[in-house]
């Protein structure tokens, strides 16, 4: 029923009624090339034939080619669905055909003259904007991942890890620059350092060793 409605709304707004483009565009209207029309014709014929493949029991006994087609797939499942009485089948077919036809007529009469829709509000707007699934997805997944990636790229990678690596290099260079001052060339300073070293060694020998 809903399918009948929106398909025929599509048909009515696109193919019926007055042309809504500019003068110039209307001059460009033409039939599609055969590369498009021929496959379409084939598909249309197949669509009609396909409808008769699964023809219900009430029209033609034992001619439903589809009914047993999937049988091998469900083998071992529910064995043989119960057959529906013919009257129920007639009723289901009748009701759905009537409803679908009603929607077709409604769609055609509503949209072939004035195809424009009023700006939807409330529930309609919610549906028009695809229930905001895209926005929710964007907020919940896309943006956090991008933010995380930016954080990794600019902070963790450049500052922390690379900073640590380059920092090691800088520390060595800085340390060497400072240690350089020890090599002053003054013999007195060297002797002093030597004596300090000897004292430290003595302390270690005397007090710290067992």
């Amino acid at each position: 029923m809903l399918t009948a409605f929106y398909m025929f709304r599509l048909y009515a707004t696109t193919f019926l009624g007055n042309f809504r483009g500019t003068e110039k565009q209307s001059g460009h209207l033409h039939e599609s090339p055969p590369a498009i029309t021929i496959p379409l014709i084939i598909l249309a014929i197949l669509a009609v034939i396909a409808g008769f493949v699964g023809i219900p029991e009430v029209f033609a006994k034992n001619s439903n080619a589809l009914e047993h087609f999937l049988h091998p797939v469900f083998a071992g499942g529910s064995e043989g669905s119960e057959s529906i009485p013919a009257s129920t089948e007639w009723m289901l077919m009748g009701v759905s055909t009537v409803l679908a036809l009603a929607m077709v007529l409604y769609a055609l009469s509503r949209f072939s003259k004035k195809p424009e829709l009023a700006e939807p509000t409330g529930f309609g707007k919610w549906m028009r904007d695809k229930f905001y699934v895209d926005e929710i997805y964007d907020a919940l997944i896309v943006r956090p991942i991008n933010a995380l990636a930016d954080f990794f790229d600019s902070i963790v990678e450049k500052r922390m890890i690379d900073g640590l690596v380059n920092g090691t290099g800088r520390l060595v260079q800085y340390g060497s620059r400072q240690l350089r001052y020890l090599q002053s060339g003054q013999v007195g300073a060297y002797v002093l350092l030597m004596v300090v070293g000897i004292v430290i060694l003595f302390v270690v020998q005397l007090f710290l060793r067992k």
Binding site: I145, N146, L148, A149, D150, F152, D153, V156, E157, I161, D162, V165, N166, G169
Partner: protein, 488 residues
């Protein structure tokens, strides 16, 4: 004889190359690399137990080190990759003009010597020797012919990898002193863990693993890589990412996991966690890169992380996947680098934001790139799918860890991320509106079509029929798992 030729040809050709005229050097290098490829293919055609695949002679007798080289399954697949990569690189960058071209091509051949040596060595000292031999030419190549910030980048690269290598040397020496008859032979190293208690193996593991972790690279030892890839000349970047990072994976497969099985099991979870952090981390960073070279660099970190993860799962499927994926990743990433190189050469920029709409002008290049991209994402029918699928199933069925499901799920997230950054790149560089830079784009030349076409054919053939690669590596997988006490 085959392994000796594999090492000897590029070594001799490289040394001769230094004395050649600049114009002749290019053809000479291509000739030598094709010769190596021929020898490598001959090696694969020989029966597995052929005497021609082994060579051993006295080298440093007093130290217990021999010049022992052999070609087994793992070595074969990586030698084939190395042998394939160099001609591909030479042909695809054929039009590039280098200053002092003779030195450039000689150093390239010397680095090939080092790489092949690493994959062939059956002696720890020899392995270390070639490991360094592969590093030194690359240092000169990148620092002489690289980009603007090449000195800083190569210095960092050298210190990083050299620190790792020295740690590994200490580790090798420690194991050497614990071998029964003080020998550097691979077989003696495989026996040594009987004499080394578990606690010792635990820290010894890190000494050796550090070298491999830097090389692969594993988070957080990776920061040399994007800088070096960015600053190196394209041909060198292709060698580095296509072949040289595989040295790390290979090292773990041959010189770490079977040598220190206890250490490997003890640290399996830690290393796996690092791999997964690195995979997600690098994928996320790749999403935010504007420079094509850095994007591919980070993508490579993510893919290498998966290989390392699969090794530490120690399952048959996982290890098999790693071996095949090493080869596949080499092919795919060299293909990506060739495309990046062609783009940079034509448009004088690597910034994604400055490119767009190339597809309409260069349909062949675009087609090739899209196939290589799909392979990099590991879509079915491409080579990487085979490898990654095996690795994922290996990690999932791992008995070495109790977090196998968590690991698999986390690692699988990176496939989605890789699709995000790769497809995003394709979209922004090749589709969309053209701009001032890209409106006069021309398609690629015949030599470039040939090389990329060859890689694309390899991608699809291996993706559809990987059986030959399985057969090549099956023996190596079995013997590795036996040494890890997974298989009898």
């Amino acid at each position: 004889m085959v392994p000796v030729l594999l090492i000897g040809i590029p070594l001799l050709a490289g040394l001769i190359g230094f004395s050649l005229k600049n114009a002749a050097a290019k053809s000479w290098a291509l000739f030598a690399s094709l010769l190596v490829l021929g020898v490598s293919l001959t090696g694969i055609c020989l029966p597995k137990n052929s005497k021609q695949l082994l060579f051993s002679t006295e080298w440093m007798g007093t130290l217990g080190s021999r010049f022992a080289v052999s070609l087994d399954g793992t070595g074969q697949i990586l030698c084939l990759l190395t042998a394939l990569a160099f001609p591909v690189i030479f042909i695809s960058t054929w039009k590039e003009e280098y200053k002092k071209a003779n030195n450039f091509f000689s150093l390239m051949l010397l680095s090939q010597t080092g790489l092949l040596g690493v994959f062939l060595a059956g002696d720890a000292l020899l392995f270390y020797f070639f490991w360094e031999l592969a590093l030194i030419p690359v240092y000169f190549l990148a620092s002489q012919w690289g980009g603007e910030k090449r000195i800083a980048a190569t210095f960092k690269f050298f210190i990083y990898t050299f620190l790792g290598s020295l740690m590994m040397l200490i580790g090798i020496l420690y194991i050497y002193f614990h071998t029964r008859d003080h020998s550097f032979a691979l077989s003696a190293f495989y026996q040594a863990h009987m004499q080394i208690p578990a606690e010792t193996q635990s820290w010894l593991f890190w000494l050796i693993f550090l070298a491999f972790a830097v090389k692969m690279p594993i988070f957080p030892f990776h920061t040399w890589q994007p800088d070096t890839y960015e600053q190196s000349p394209s041909a060198v970047t292709m060698v580095l990412s296509g072949v040289m990072v595989k040295m790390g994976v290979f090292g773990v497969l041959r010189w770490l996991a079977p040598v220190l099985p206890m250490g490997t099991y003890m640290w399996g979870d830690t290393v796996s966690a690092l791999c997964i952090i690195g995979m997600i981390y690098a994928s996320l960073i790749a999403m935010r890169q504007d420079d094509l070279k850095r994007l591919v660099a980070y993508s490579s970190i993510a893919h290498m992380g998966l290989m390392c993860l699969a090794i530490f799962a120690t399952t048959e499927a996982g290890i098999q996947g790693v071996m095949i994926q090493m080869f596949n990743h080499g092919i795919n990433i060299i293909g990506l680098w060739i495309v990046v190189y062609l783009i940079e050469k034509q448009f004088k920029t690597r910034k994604i934001s400055e490119l767009g709409g190339i597809a309409a002008k260069a349909p062949v290049l675009t087609t090739m790139l899209v196939i290589i991209t799909l392979a990099n994402i590991a879509l079915p029918l491409t080579n990487a799918f085979i490898g990654e699928f095996l690795m994922f199933s290996g990690v999932y069925s791992s008995k070495a860890t109790s977090y196998n499901v968590v690991f698999t799920v986390c690692a699988a997230v990176t496939i989605i991320l890789s699709a995000v950054y790769m497809l995003n790149m394709v979209q922004r560089v090749f589709y969309g509106p053209v701009n001032g830079r890209t409106e006069n784009a021309v398609d690629i030349r015949t030599n470039e079509k040939m090389v990329l076409g060859f890689l694309v054919i390899l991608i699809i053939v291996i993706g559809v029929y990987p059986e030959p690669l399985f057969r090549l590596t099956q023996g190596a997988v079995d013997s590795l798992l036996a040494k890890m006490y997974v298989k009898p």
